[in-house]
Symmetry: none
Subunit: 186 residues, 2 copies
DNA sequence: ATGGCTATGCGACAAATTGTCTCAGGTATA
DNA sequence: TATACCTGAGACAATTTGTCGCATAGCCAT
């Protein structure tokens, strides 16, 4: 738990980091402080919300997988508190399905870990249409395709693992194990 | 179920398919006609735009990779013509970056090929949050998805097993064995 | 509160699939 | 002919799945 910046009249823009990995929070916190932000950290959704209710941050970095809950709900809440908040979703378990959800919920951008502080900064600044997004030359590997597909069906089924396993005609234990692994890059 | 347009003289909702693969357009066109849409196809951005300017479609399916250009610009244009148009972006070269951009530009959803017609329908109806009417149409099993995907990449590479295995990041021996087996039913 | 139903996480072991290495052709091209 | 690809296939180890089982938790109706 980190102390909230009670006085928001700081000359630095406020930035809330929400990630259950404390080490990650610390490292990122330092890197962004150096870049001129006033950082606050939270490790759970509840903490993040109470901090945000006290003083809504101008920027937020939210991890998708917060222990048991999904950071997606937090994106929605933060945006309800202040539609002007710029939110970057960050995750080691990135998928197209969750990226789509995050953006629909109002996230400014969605990045896959590992990222460095500069990429995050760039993500905050980015607006639609300005960047020329390159279309990947190579199709997804079969492993990655499977991951994306699983994530999509899972999302469509409210993250219900049992239901998804049945739909996909795969053993629940197997699905469990696949989800526990990190997605392949590329 | 999707309701027919009130303004259009047709009793069926209009749907514009934009993909440079003519075969794909034809197949999809038939499948969606059967499901009660009034289909128009275009293979280039320019064609799509002039068609859309004449009569803006209620729904659109846009491929990301249109020969040289990016389907992303088309999403933007279609939305400018009519913000009510529901657009699903479809692609064989999916990536998180383009998915994020597509949604920001106003696409309703973003799907990686292969998909079947029912999944596209579901995508049109899908809104944020979750829990829509879980349409019984069960999606492909992972095995089936993989099979279709492999077949597509294989065809794109002139049936060269070695090349395909490399692209798919899988061992040639494994691909060999997968191909030796039958196409999965279901 | 109790039972019924379902979802979930995870250990353990067998069954199946993959990765790896190998060899033996086949085909094209310089 | 030498070189550089492709291909199918055998053998064996390394991994991944399928199948159990069990304990816990939430929800709902009795």
């Amino acid at each position: 738990m980190i102390e909230p910046s009670l006085t928001d009249n700081s000359e630095y823009p406020s930035l809330l980091i929400v990630d259950d990995d404390e080490v990650f929070c610390d490292v990122l916190s330092k890197a962004l402080t150096k870049r001129g932000f006033s950082i606050t950290c939270a490790h759970t959704i509840d903490d993040a919300l109470s901090l945000a209710e006290t003083s809504t941050p101008e920027y937020a970095i939210v991890d998708l997988k917060l222990s048991s809950e999904s950071g997606l709900v937090l994106v929605e809440r933060l945006r309800n508190l202040d539609p002007g908040t710029r939110i970057v979703m960050l995750t080691g378990y990135a998928s197209i399905a969750t990226a789509v959800e995050a953006i629909k919920l109002g996230a400014t951008h969605y990045l896959a870990k590992p990222v460095d502080a500069d990429e995050i900064m760039a993500a905050f600044e980015r607006t639609v249409g300005e960047a020329n997004i390159p279309i990947s030359a190579h199709p997804l590997s079969v492993g990655r395709l499977e991951w994306e597909y699983i994530q999509r069906i899972l999302t469509e089924n409210d993250n219900n693992i049992s239901v998804t396993a049945r739909i996909l005609n795969m053993h629940r234990r197997t699905l469990q194990r696949k989800l526990a692994k990190r997605p392949l890059r590329e």
